[in-house]
């Protein structure tokens, strides 16, 4: 894993790809860092220049893709920080601390299933690409879910022919299966030990996915979110309760995660 660095990068593109969802491409002179970054790792972006007191904290975003010498993020406009980011013009310099945390680890299963819900799809593209490079002969299933068609992101990148076995679900039926992405997962037949599921999405979805995996005895990795101040293990702000009995202990999303084995949490 590369040592994280705090670098200045330049916005080359910041484009609305779906309503309220933006693709941000950055150029940096420090490209080695990106080619070594693990899928599932994230960056802390300072939204305005460093002297800006409000918003004060950096914002965590997952690495979506590394391509043509650029690093890409896919983000949804939620509050003040992401709104300001969406207004930033190409040419603007941004400070970015990256790559941070522990990403997905590719298991030795025969079949891999990537399950993404909503913005949780963002980190899965880079992961799918890296996995294909490293294990070209393995089956990679990709299950993508969202509330509605407009919120499905990066689908065209996954559906390039011949790469992955992609299935889609939307809550309102506007695209693919009418229902939850977990219905699709439940429908898969694979014997225990042969399959690993990698999941990123809303909390209830990840919990449901991990329940299915437990039932079917599949390995399961989940990518969690938490409010963060530093993103680098210094403030202990990003705690998540650890599974266990007795005194409640906590793990830290930025330094122990963001990717965890499901059984560490649930």
């Amino acid at each position: 894993m590369p040592t994280p660095r705090d670098i200045t990068s330049i916005i080359v593109e910041n484009r609305e790809v779906n309503p309220k969802i933006f693709l941000l491409s950055l150029n940096t002179s420090d490209l080695d860092i990106w080619s070594e970054a693990e899928p599932g790792q994230f960056a802390m972006l300072k939204i305005a220049d460093m002297s800006c007191d409000d918003p004060l904290l950096r914002r965590p975003l997952s690495i979506h893709n590394v391509r043509d010498g650029k690093i890409q993020f896919l983000y949804k406009v939620l509050g003040r920080g992401t709104l300001l980011l969406s207004q930033a013009k190409p040419g603007t310099a941004l400070r970015i601390l990256a790559p941070l945390g522990n990403g997905f680890s590719i298991s030795n299963s025969k079949t891999h299933c990537l399950v993404g819900g909503g913005m949780g799809i963002a980190p899965l593209l880079y992961f799918a690409r890296k996995m294909k490079e490293q294990q070209p002969s393995n089956t990679i299933k990709v299950l993508l879910g969202a509330r509605t068609k407009n919120e499905l992101i990066a689908v065209q990148d996954f559906t390039e022919p011949g790469l992955y076995d992609v299935k889609i679900a939307t809550d309102d039926g506007s695209e693919g299966h009418h229902g939850l992405v977990t219905d699709l997962l439940d429908g898969i037949n694979a014997s225990p030990g042969d399959m690993t599921v990698y999941c990123c999405g809303p909390h209830p979805m990840m919990k449901a996915v991990s329940n299915i995996c437990r039932k079917k005895e599949w390995k399961c990795q989940i990518s969690l979110e938490a409010l963060m101040a530093c993103g680098m293990g210094a403030c202990l702000g990003c705690a998540v309760p650890k599974k266990g009995i007795g005194i409640q202990e906590y793990l830290h999303v930025c330094s122990d995660g963001p990717v965890f084995k499901a059984e560490e949490i649930w």
Partner: protein, 305 residues
């Protein structure tokens, strides 16, 4: 020509410069080595340590507020013994002064911590007295001058390390607390710890922190911190270490003019992990530019009408 003198004295301890990091915002120091050279800093103050491990508060533990943040980490730490056997080994790798911040829920716990740390090669002890005194119904040591005096005195008896008492700002008169620490035998006071605050989500009608209340830090608290440093430094003879919202060289100069002999940088480290090292360079540059031969000339240099 030799450059400006950045050295500062606290009791018998000489710091290479007045820039320290604030407890709880700099991990154990090592996390920051990709972004700065620890040896450039005056001192590194590590995360608060208690006798027994503490797992801390449930999440959410932090929330951003205008120009600041609230935290309710709950003093999560590995406990004294594990700290000594693992984390303290890290310190030996760097030619830097490490200060250990301690916390307890009784006077006895503070003294045990001080006695044990006295046998180690740390540079100084900082006592966080913003913690509740369990035997006195959970009132924080730091809001009662008598309790602050007692805990300072108890720790003083068990250590000959430089002793810093870290004051809570959640009091009516900070000068009374600073005096209590001085009378108890402190070598310095550091202030301010975080200001108690809260944040509410109007949509859910719930508090934004699981702990409901938390400590406010960051640029938002700087004016309050400056005022308290100014007041405290006029009242006590021991050095005052200024803390609160510092993120630039200019901020450091303001605190020193207000009466601080040194400063600690807290929340700013979380946003810009290299900031403390840059401030040391900035301070040196300022002194050179203004042809000031010693940083000590700034201390208390406020011009009042």
């Amino acid at each position: 020509m030799t450059g400006p003198d950045l050295k500062i004295k606290i009791g018998g301890w000489t710091l290479k410069n007045p820039i320290m990091t604030a407890s709880g915002t700099f991990g154990y120091g090592e996390e920051f080595t990709p972004y700065l050279n620890l040896e450039d800093l005056g001192a590194v103050v590590v995360k608060g340590i208690s006798l027994e491990p503490r797992s801390g508060n449930p999440p959410p533990r932090i929330v951003e507020t205008p120009c600041g943040m609230l935290n309710a980490i709950g003093l999560e730490n590995v406990g004294l013994e594990k700290f000594i056997s693992t984390k303290m080994q890290i310190f030996r790798k760097y030619n830097t002064d490490f200060v250990v911040n301690i916390l307890g829920d009784s006077v006895e716990e503070y003294s045990t911590l001080a006695a044990r740390l006295n046998d180690t090669d740390i540079a100084a002890i900082e006592v966080n007295i913003s913690c509740p005194n369990v035997k006195k119904g959970g009132v924080a040591f730091g809001v009662d001058p008598q309790m602050a005096y007692e805990v300072t005195q108890a720790v003083r008896r068990r250590t000959d390390k430089p002793l810093i008492i870290k004051l809570s700002p959640n009091v009516t008169d900070i000068t009374v607390m600073a005096k209590a620490a001085e009378d108890g035998g402190a070598d310095a006071v550091s202030l301010i710890n975080t200001l108690l605050g809260m944040a509410i989500d109007p949509a859910t009608r719930k508090p934004k922190l699981a702990n409901i209340v938390g400590g406010l830090s960051g640029p938002a608290i700087k004016p309050v911190a400056l005022r308290m440093v100014w007041q405290a430094s006029k009242r006590v003879r021991i050095p005052v270490i200024g803390i609160g919202g510092i993120r630039t060289t200019e901020d450091v100069i303001e605190f020193m003019l207000a009466g601080a002999s040194a400063v600690q940088i807290g929340t700013a480290n979380l946003i810009d992990p290299g900031v403390s090292g840059n401030i040391v360079k900035g301070l040196l540059g300022y002194l050179k530019q203004h042809k000031i031969s010693s940083v000590r000339e700034l201390i208390g240099g406020l011009k009042t009408p």
